[in-house]
């Protein structure tokens, strides 16, 4: 395999991972986010329905569940790979050429990675994992 071919392959591989994350971020945001916003951001605070995060005991019990932790990681972190891409292109559409530069890519996609790491940290340190 020539160096050129190898390089081209590695670039395509990175694209594959990135586009997969971009698409999945869009799906997660589309399928899961509206229900959370409606219930945790509107109906819960208005007291229309009881919501799990309105009370310490129920919220902590839910956050301790490892499946919930995994779910919240997907819910919060994955959309940021979609968000990073869209915001970068939104800036480009408004004539900010710098948004296309390599440093901007590092900032935006690095930001999505950072959100992922912070989310993992918050989920693992806030409430210990419990199976009960």
């Amino acid at each position: 395999m020539s160096t050129e071919t190898r390089q081209r392959r590695s670039v395509a591989y990175a694209h594959l991972i990135y586009w997969f994350l971009f698409a999945q971020g869009g799906v997660v945001a589309a399928v899961l986010v509206p229900a959370h916003v409606l219930i945790q951001g509107i109906l819960g605070p208005l007291g229309i329905v009881p919501v799990v995060d309105r009370h310490y005991d129920t919220w902590v019990a839910m956050l301790g569940n490892p499946i919930v932790k995994l779910y919240l990681l997907v819910l919060i972190a994955v959309p940021f790979f979609h968000i990073a891409h869209r915001v970068r292109y939104l800036l480009t559409d408004f004539g900010i050429k710098a948004a296309k530069s390599l440093p901007a890519q590092v900032v935006f996609y690095g930001g999505a990675v950072l959100v992922t790491l912070v989310t993992i940290w918050v989920l693992l340190t806030t409430v210990p994992i419990s199976l009960g």
Binding site: V33, I42, P45, I76, L123
Partner: protein, 134 residues
């Protein structure tokens, strides 16, 4: 540069995009609205992360957010989130091509399946958030 040299130099007419280009046409406006949907969604998800972090405050200090500002912010986010869902899931009919028994599945069916998935997921999420609050 002398005046003579200035006159001789080729003139440049760099094309600059007018700042309000997206307000000139309904399609442009909806496109920008669609791209912008991710901004309130991002902020709301970061709020959710803060709400999770607050569970670490302990029973005595825990107080869930419940201000009018949060509700207003959530209403705005919900409108954008619904627009994102509508546009993103509709797009699936263009992107996804599946064949069943060697026949392509019509894009309408794919879009309907996506919207059905959204409905089911919303019911499950809503049920869990309310059921486990008891």
């Amino acid at each position: 540069m002398t005046a003579e040299a200035k006159a001789a130099a080729p003139r440049e007419y760099p094309w600059r995009i007018p700042a309000n280009w997206w307000l000139r046409n309904r399609h442009y406006f909806l496109y920008i609205a669609r791209e912008f949907t991710v901004v309130p969604i991002a902020l709301w998800l970061l709020w959710l992360l803060v709400e999770i972090k607050r569970a670490g405050d302990g029973r005595a200090h825990y107080a869930p957010h419940g201000s009018t500002a949060l509700v207003v912010f959530s209403v705005i986010t919900l409108l954008f989130a619904l627009y994102h869902s509508y546009t993103f899931l509709s797009l699936a009919g263009v992107i996804i091509h599946v064949k069943v028994l060697d026949r392509p599945v019509p894009s309408r069916v794919i879009v309907l399946a996506q919207f059905a998935l959204w409905a089911v997921a919303s019911v499950v999420v809503g049920f869990a958030l309310i059921w486990f609050a008891r």
